[in-house]
Amino acid sequence: MQLVTPAIGLVFWMLVTFSILLFILKKFAWGPILGSIKDREDSINQSLSQAEQARNEMAKLQGENEQLLAQARQERDAMLKEAREMKEKIVGDAKSVAEDEAKKIMSRASDEINKQKSAAMDELKKEIASFSVQIAEKLLADTLANNEAQQKLISHHLNELTQKAQA
């Protein structure tokens, strides 16, 4: 029966010891231990969430980079296209200007040529007339008393001739 009868001394010492044990362990052991376990858990959780955040940020940055790159590529393409267009335009412009200029020069040249030709013709006509007159004078000096009538006749004929040549 001694086995199942609580002994007052043992109960007393157990109460004293266990109370002290509870107090000391709570104050110096479980408190700090549970605290540092919690701190560690918190710091691990924080680190994990920070890592997650960093990864998300990385992904975002990467996306942004790609976007930027695409944008840059687009811009470059646009610039190149613009440049090509400009070049073509400049070349085209230059070509048309040159053509105009050439046309102008040509027309001016042909005008000049025509002018020169007509002047030369006039000169030639005069020369020919005077030559003809001289030749005719020489030929007909004696035969023709009236020089003026002769002259008129000849120029009449010469005019006819030139009109034929021009036609």
Partner: protein, 383 residues
């Protein structure tokens, strides 16, 4: 410590005793020699007079014991080992036993407080200051007609074992706390790797699921209860000093533990808990049945906690000692038979010891789990 030789024993017991001594004194080889010499000495002289220290009374009692000890009594041996004692038995048997005397502290209305060493009882053979040890090892009046109460506050074997276990536990976990304070945020090292999973297991798998969001307030208590029981269970499995005491298998110890749980549950009970007991949701006429049952349940819960731990640990000690006793029971019939049985007996004891290691954890776990569940029931919020 004391060794006296005033008892004779027959040959068959001697062999068994020798083997018993061998097993229990592997670490104290000096004494093995001493005891064997003494036992041979006993055999040569069939009757030896009592030692000079023993009083007249003690001598008489020794003769009574001599009559009892003709054969090996496993029941008596086991009971002596699992019960509390006023000295810490180390090895040897009966009057050859070597033990550490422990302080006896008594309070009586007649004598007031008396403090003396249990050495003065000479293993129950002598009376001291009017007190003696009765055959159960309990302190009684020398004058048997005196019926006045004796309040025994002695530092008995269990008290000392409990103190040793508690100090061991305190040193261990306080050092752990220091280590943690020094290495904040770092992973634990060494033995703390073993303790921390237990703490986390208690917190995450016992306290939090059963108590809920208020679990952390009870963690100190649950951890203390768990580690107290677990440490003392393990110490109890060590066959020699400072272990071997059946502390957690003592009803006084488990009673106080259960009382602590009972007080905690009662103090943390919220209005739903009390309403459930005194105003349950049943027709009023049933209160006459339900309320006594509920009150009984409140008392029964810690009572069962107390009994479970006590019975399991005591049973473990009894089984281990029982297997050992087989050697001496057979040895009593024939020494050869005792030797033949011993390997089997040792194997069984080893197996049981390993099983007890599991039980040591399991009972600490069950006690904590149930305490946690009871606290959880007390603080549960109903809607």
């Amino acid at each position: 410590m004391q060794m006296s030789d005033n008892q004779c024993c027959n040959v068959s017991v001697r062999f068994g005793k020798l083997f018993f001594t061998l097993i229990f004194s592997l670490f104290f080889s000096q004494n093995v020699v001493a005891t064997s010499i003494e036992t041979t000495h006993d055999a040569s002289e069939s009757h030896v007079t009592s030692g000079s220290e023993s009083s007249e009374h003690g001598h008489g009692q020794a003769h009574d014991m001599h009559d009892e000890k003709e054969g090996f009594d496993p029941g008596k041996m086991i009971m002596e080992h699992i019960a509390d004692a006023h000295d810490w038995h180390l090895w040897g048997e009966g009057d050859h036993s070597v033990s550490i005397p422990l302080p006896v502290i008594l309070y009586t209305e007649e004598n007031g407080v008396s403090i003396f060493s249990s050495f003065n009882f000479h293993h129950g053979h002598a009376a001291y200051e009017g007190f003696k040890l009765n055959h159960e090892g309990v302190i009684a009046w020398e004058d048997e007609s005196n019926t006045a109460a004796i309040y025994d506050f002695s530092l008995t074997k269990n008290v000392v074992a409990m103190l040793i276990g508690s100090i061991f536990l305190m040193v261990l976990v306080v050092k752990m706390a220091r280590h943690y304070a020094k290495n904040t945020g770092k992973a634990p090292k060494g033995i703390y790797n073993l303790i921390e999973p237990l703490i986390l297991f208690l917190r995450d798998d016992i306290a939090r699921p059963t108590i809920g969001k208020r679990a952390d307030r009870y963690m100190h208590l649950l951890l203390s209860i768990f580690f107290f029981i677990f440490t003392l269970n393990l110490f109890g499995l060590i066959p020699v000093f400072p272990g071997g005491a059946n502390v957690t298998g003592n009803i006084s110890i488990t009673m106080v533990l259960a009382l602590v749980v009972f007080i905690t549950v009662t103090l943390s009970g919220n209005k739903y808990y009390w309403k459930h007991i005194f105003m349950p949701d049943v027709p009023v006429w049933m209160y006459i049945i339900i309320i006594p049952i509920e009150i009984l349940g409140v008392i029964l819960k810690p009572f069962v906690l107390m009994l479970r731990l006590f019975a399991n640990i005591t049973a473990g000690h009894i089984i281990i000692l029982g297997f050992f006793s087989l050697i001496f029971i057979f040895g009593n019939m024939n020494p050869g038979l005792g030797y033949a049985v011993s390997p089997l007996s040792v194997a069984f004891t080893l197996f049981m010891s390993l099983l007890e290691l599991l039980v040591a954890f399991l009972q600490a776990f069950v006690f904590t789990l149930l305490s946690s569940i009871y606290i959880g029931m007390a603080v549960e919020e109903h809607h």
